[in-house]
Symmetry: C2
Subunit: 192 residues, 2 copies
DNA sequence: TAAAGATACTAACACCGTTAGTCAAGCGGC
DNA sequence: GCCGCTTGACTAACGGTGTTAGTATCTTTA
């Protein structure tokens, strides 16, 4: 029995690659073990089971998504920051469909490690909105609105729901434009 | 072996009830058969397998969602229609979480029966937007924007993503207000 | 070098969906 | 009213899944 030289990290990363390649549903312990060249029960030396793996995948995915949009938004402000963040969000979902799906499918959403990553994500989005004067509760509402719109778009797009032959990039631009206009107007009306 | 007096329709409706009660993931042939008081293989007399059942569930769900929002929007126009539609959309997702989840998880999204229901759904949403002057391609883009925002909100809400103790109803109202404002503005700028 | 720990293995179990083959209930035609 | 065909239930069996227990071997540590 030669050792495969695995680690918890290597297992999770192999699962992430498999998820992005063939979909999150393809991430089964049997398939993952086959990819790694070991038998299924050997995975239990690195991971406590399928749920543990999925949880770790959710953490990895949330961190990767947060990193992606942070890199895009840093150094920008206002509409420019919002647009860059939105494009990066959609790019992550397109480039990493398995990870993107995993980031909302944690078996234990209350897990502290995941909650911390989720808080970071919310913070990054919130930072991009302070230029609109949206802080405090207004900021949280706005983060929810923005996240909802972005997630909805990429989720429907990923599910193949935009079947009509009409440029989806243009639809996305209009979505962002609509949100930007709404945020600007709301900032004006609440703080005249 | 007494007959249970089942039918394809009864099986699908039992699956829908189970999905709403315990989540779509709980809808397994074994569990469904137990609920109906029969053995698992007997389900194959009514349904061609799990995929067939899921497909039928998606069709049922899409029809129910379309009916729900149509009932809410009929007889109204403008912001009133948009608001009623949005509230009905969210109410359906809240009252029927399993069905709502199923409506985007069809094994064969290209299936004609499902495609027809999906077209109906898009048409109902589009009708609610003509009052904003959004027709043709503008209308399709707007339908995508609206669906994305609504789906994203209820999906994140259903995934337990809005954890901060801040009124989600108010967040939803702001989402709808933002969209309404964006649609009104876009209608003005494209057709001065 | 010997002990200890980590890592892979085989064997076995329960659950899932699925297929094949069987058998009785219930309906229509004579 | 009887016969036969269709319908709808069943049992048995197979392959796939995740999981646990127990075992052997490699690698590191004392």
């Amino acid at each position: 029995m030669p050792r495969a030289g695995l680690s918890r990290r290597a297992v999770v990363e192999a699962a992430a690659a498999l998820a992005d390649r063939e979909g999150l549903a393809a991430v089964t312990l049997a398939r993952l073990a086959a990819d790694l060249g070991i038998r299924t029960p050997s995975l239990y030396n690195h991971v406590a089971g399928l749920d543990d793996l999925r949880q770790e995948l959710a953490v990895l995915a949330t961190r990767a998504l947060a990193d992606g949009i942070e890199r895009a938004a840093v150094g920008r402000a206002g509409d420019e920051a919002l647009t860059a963040l939105a494009l990066a969000y959609r790019a992550f979902a397109t480039d990493h469909p398995g990870l993107y799906e995993a980031h909302l499918r944690a078996p234990s959403p209350e897990d502290p490690a995941l909650a911390r990553m989720a808080t970071d994500l919310v913070g990054i989005v919130a930072d991009a909105l302070v230029a609109y004067g949206l802080r405090g509760e207004d900021g949280i509402h706005a983060v929810r609105v923005l996240r909802a719109a972005l997630h909805g778009f990429v989720a429907l797009e990923g599910a193949g729901e935009f079947r009509i032959a009409l440029d989806r990039d243009e639809s996305f631009r209009r979505l962002v434009r609509t949100l930007a206009g709404g945020f600007r107007r709301q900032a004006e009306t609440t703080q005249p």
